[in-house]
């Protein structure tokens, strides 16, 4: 119960900030909450809007699947093979911290236009955190766990399935949670360039057309979706850590 009250309070505070921003910046930069919500509802009810949503969702799902599979695989390999792990971890960490948007020309030259470039952009943003978290999780498995597994005479398969997987799972889920957010960011950025579909396109197009109502509404829809999805993932994350 208190949880709902708190969430409501946060929501009200954000709305307050939003209103304040509108009051300061005026209609030429942002539309106020009620008007934006009306426009957002109109967008959600219009047939033209949904193809953009599906374009983003499709690209995002592909990018997320690739980020997750590649990230976890690479993380496992580098985590288990210690030497490679130590060689590549700083390289990956550096890559994580550079502005990948500057690589956009390169991505476009390699992947061409359309869905594959969007997906690729999502993957270069989202894959690294998954890799780094998986790597750290595997590297930090306590030695006593593997020794326990041996003492219990578990087969390698059983060890992997019943000991190692549960031990690394919470970290991997944390990595996926961050990978989720960054993949989404990558896809949106990808859509802002060579694309005429997707929510990212709608936002940049709205900015370029000075269509404040549309831009604000799409941003609010995107932010809401991101917060809700991440809230769900956070709950999953806590659950995996037996933290609830």
């Amino acid at each position: 119960m208190t949880r709902w009250i708190d969430n409501l309070a946060i929501l009200l505070a954000l709305l307050g900030l939003w209103y304040l921003a509108w009051w300061q910046a005026g209609d030429s930069a942002i539309t106020p909450p009620v008007q934006t919500l009306k426009f957002a509802l109109y967008l959600l009810g219009s047939a033209d809007f949904w193809p953009h949503v599906w374009a983003t969702v499709l690209a995002f799902l592909y990018a997320l699947a690739i980020s997750a599979v590649l990230g976890i695989t690479l993380g496992l390999v580098l985590g288990l093979h210690r030497f490679s792990g130590e060689v590549f971890e700083p390289i990956l960490a550096s890559f994580y911290t550079i502005p990948k948007v500057t690589l956009y020309p390169l991505m476009l030259l390699i992947f061409g236009l359309g869905l594959s470039a969007k997906v690729a952009f999502g993957v270069i943003h989202g894959m690294i955190p998954v890799t780094l978290f998986t790597l750290a999780a595997v590297k930090n498995i306590p030695g006593v766990l593997t020794r326990t597994a041996r003492a219990l005479r578990l087969s390698p398969r059983q060890t992997a399935l019943h000991v190692l997987m549960p031990a690394v799972l919470p970290e991997i889920i944390s990595g996926l949670r961050i990978g989720f957010a960054l993949t989404f960011l990558g896809v949106l950025i990808g859509e802002m360039f060579a694309s005429q579909r997707g929510l990212g396109f709608l936002i940049i197009n709205g900015i370029n057309q000075h269509d404040v109502a549309r831009t604000t509404a799409v941003i609010v829809i995107v932010v809401t979706a991101a917060v809700l999805a991440n809230g769900a993932l956070l709950r999953l994350d806590r659950h995996a850590r037996h933290d609830v």
């Binding site: 949880r3 946060i10 030429s28 030497f83 948007v101 900015i207 991440n230």
Partner: protein, 249 residues
Amino acid sequence: MRGVALTRLGVIAAFIALLEALCRFGIVKPLTLVAPSRMVGTLIDLIQAGDVGDDAARTAIEVAGAFVLAILLGVSIGAVIHAIPRLRRAVAPVLVSWYAVPSFVFYPLFIALLGLSEAPLIAIGAFSATPAMVVATISGLDRVPRVLRRVARVHRMGFWDTLRHITLPSALPSLFTGVKLAFAYAFIGVIAGEFILSGGGLGYAIAYAYESFETAKMYALMLLVLGVGVAVNAGLHTWEGRLLRRRQR
């Protein structure tokens, strides 16, 4: 340890050599990719001709402003959130989904609020970087051992003394992680903002070179940005190592 470092250097060198070969033997067209040696050469020419100074200075000011602002805001907000568990639980989903929102979509809003100058880009950078610092501050404060808080009381230390002698040193490792991330995100935010929306700075210069088909210049500038990013990160990493070295076994 030496072996690891050497291998790492070898991997990077091999990668550069591969790019060089791909370009030299014409497997990749010069409009797509230029050889690393030419990137470096072009970069040196650009620097000597004074063509990057203004953009680099502008970017440096923006990143530095965003970085400092993010640290100040992040630590204060983090401390407040840490002090109020209910607030913490309620804002957690907002904090973790922050990165799914491209900060530069707020550029028009920031221009309206701050005017057309470096300030909106500083705001974008700080906007991207602050949550990392908030999260690091919270986890740093979590990691202050309870027993040390009690030691502080046994020594009858007031709030500020406890902060200075107990809380900050205990939270330092975590805070430093936050500082490193804050730099990375401030840098990413500023460059991305410049790249997409602004009329100056290194990010803009890259986009401009791309638009103008000045491929060699584009890659030279990309190299500069990547180099600066990696160098500052390495610097922070070394500093962190020096600060925290003695704490580790």
